[in-house]
Subunit: 140 residues, 6 copies
């Protein structure tokens, strides 16, 4: 029996997107996606949660300056961008909150893989304060 | 090993209630429930979390318009109501945050049962920003 | 030319009410007030703003412990109450946000009148985070 | 000596924009506007504040249902839009927070002009929770 | 198959601290901890989550007045304190968010051990609204 | 008759302080300032509001990058500091919210004096989300 120790850091980024399946007609896109079919934008809130052991010398799971640097670095591809056009991950993937969360999981999971003290536990992405997606790996 | 994918939508509703066990004396109700024994009210915050797979054609676990319609429909029985009197679920159940969350679980669980892509994962109910109850099914 | 110095303290209280003009028919009440005609409730947020000079010995416009004590004392008449029935101010006044703000102005204005360093500047009352009323005295 | 009575209603809308002066070179746009020169988006928060007298029969400055209907109606031109392209007001006006607030002032001021009980007092527009613009008429 | 029922209460406290390992040189402390090596402070947000069964007579997992009393009692050792000097738990433990959460877990876990209806489920500690640590016991 | 145009930018900083008048006995300090007499800290929220005309070429009252740079520069003297010891302004001034706001007014008012388009309108300083001080110049 052990203890779960998680640290979560939140950052905001501002991006625009549209919900649009290029294989569908405009009519079908408007029918399925409603007003989200047109370009619009959000102040997204990204929470990155890492799991790990507390270093007895520093009292920290991860150095917060390192985590902030990593997050700022990753977010340069998302902040103040039009996701459909400016971010290569969304050439073939509709930038819904679900898909953006998955893409962010893949990026952070890889970037944290070599960290010997902690690993990525969960990505939470807020599209608005009232709508968010969680993405994590199930262990079973 | 798979991935957990959750989408959460939050909505507010305004309701009044009182903590009152009709089988007790007024004195005992006041002693146990304190100032909550008298009628008062809250801006409740309801978070409905669904779990499912992302539809590759839409990039969505659930169409947000459908989820909003469902939530608005369910909340007509709670919003701008005095829960003890106006909502049949609380004829025999004290409308504590715990019990309201359980009632909301039962309603949403049933309403989402026929959805072939996702199912109800969790109900979170905020009575105030500083007090909330979580209700979900344990799988074991 | 001087400087304006204001200190604002916010507190929450939970109350229920209904919008109901007893001189009208039920039909007219429902037509004008909609779903607010039925009993329901809110977590109100009350901001009391005082204006004054900073005491050079303490660096304070008002001692925060005194202000908190005053606010808690006043709010005993509002917190966990059904305003229409339990608060004498609303026997003849519909407890709309506008009217509750006015009643709170009158109470705090009187209670702070003897304070020799500051006076009431403004009452702001939030019915929800997205709806609030301001009430203050115009000097002209 | 009278009393100031204000009612404020807040609503959110999601829009995208870019800071771009078509009379400048791309280089100058990038230099002046930085990363805001590219398309991106926000969850804007709009606060509409009206000033007026409280109707003694209803206890209200303005019927909240009327105000919500008006705000929803006005916001159809802004919500889920790319402001530079989709909204005629920004054909010749860069959709900065300052300019969007001014446009919203003009629209709401006109729409409320025939209201015999209240008038527009202030427009506050949040681009993010940490950045907002106020716009109101000075009386002097 | 059963249901998980959690109740969470949040409270704030204001404390100061510094990140400082007394076995290190000042130079190394500044290098590892950056500006956090100097004394500074936060409005911490503490969420205490309990898990339990709902009492059919009261509709409650735990009486909220009891939980508030317990939290206020525990927080007297943390609120308006300089954690490094004023709290014995941090004589040999750097008061990082991770370590404060662990100390709070130990205190609340012991204080709730004799409660026959519920037990401590999770401690969440916010250092700022954008940084928090979760601490709970894993059952496996 | 003209229009008021204000732009407000908010930033957070974390600092510690104590309420202590060195000319008083410890007993009197404890009596007047209560638990605030001991060192503790806060996540302060600083709102800087500027007033000015909108530049027709940029649509801006002030370039937000310039304002952020200025605020970050000023806040180096406050962020992650123990105000009583580390900031020269508080050698002879108790770092109450009122006094910190006044000091920040003086600094920003001077730093913005040479700006030919806008000037400082108001300083708002949050000690907690529920307590704030406003400081501005009265024109009369």
């Amino acid at each position: 029996m052990g203890y779960k120790k998680l640290l979560t850091k939140k950052m905001e980024f501002s991006a625009s997107h549209r919900y649009w399946n290029p294989e569908w007609s405009e009519e079908k896109n408007r029918e399925v996606f409603g007003k989200s079919a047109g370009p619009h934008g959000h102040n997204y809130g990204l929470e990155v949660t890492v799991e790990g052991e507390v270093d007895p010398e520093t009292g920290m799971i991860i150095n917060l300056y390192d985590l902030k640097t990593l997050m700022n670095d990753v977010l340069t591809g998302f902040d103040h961008k039009h996701l459909n056009d400016d971010n290569p991950f969304f050439k073939e993937l509709i930038p819904t909150t679900e898909n953006i969360a998955r893409v962010l999981w893949d990026i952070f999971e890889e970037r944290l893989r070599d960290n010997d003290r902690c690993s990525l536990y969960r990505i939470r992405l807020y599209e608005t304060p009232d709508l968010y997606v969680d993405y994590w790996r199930e262990l079973s």
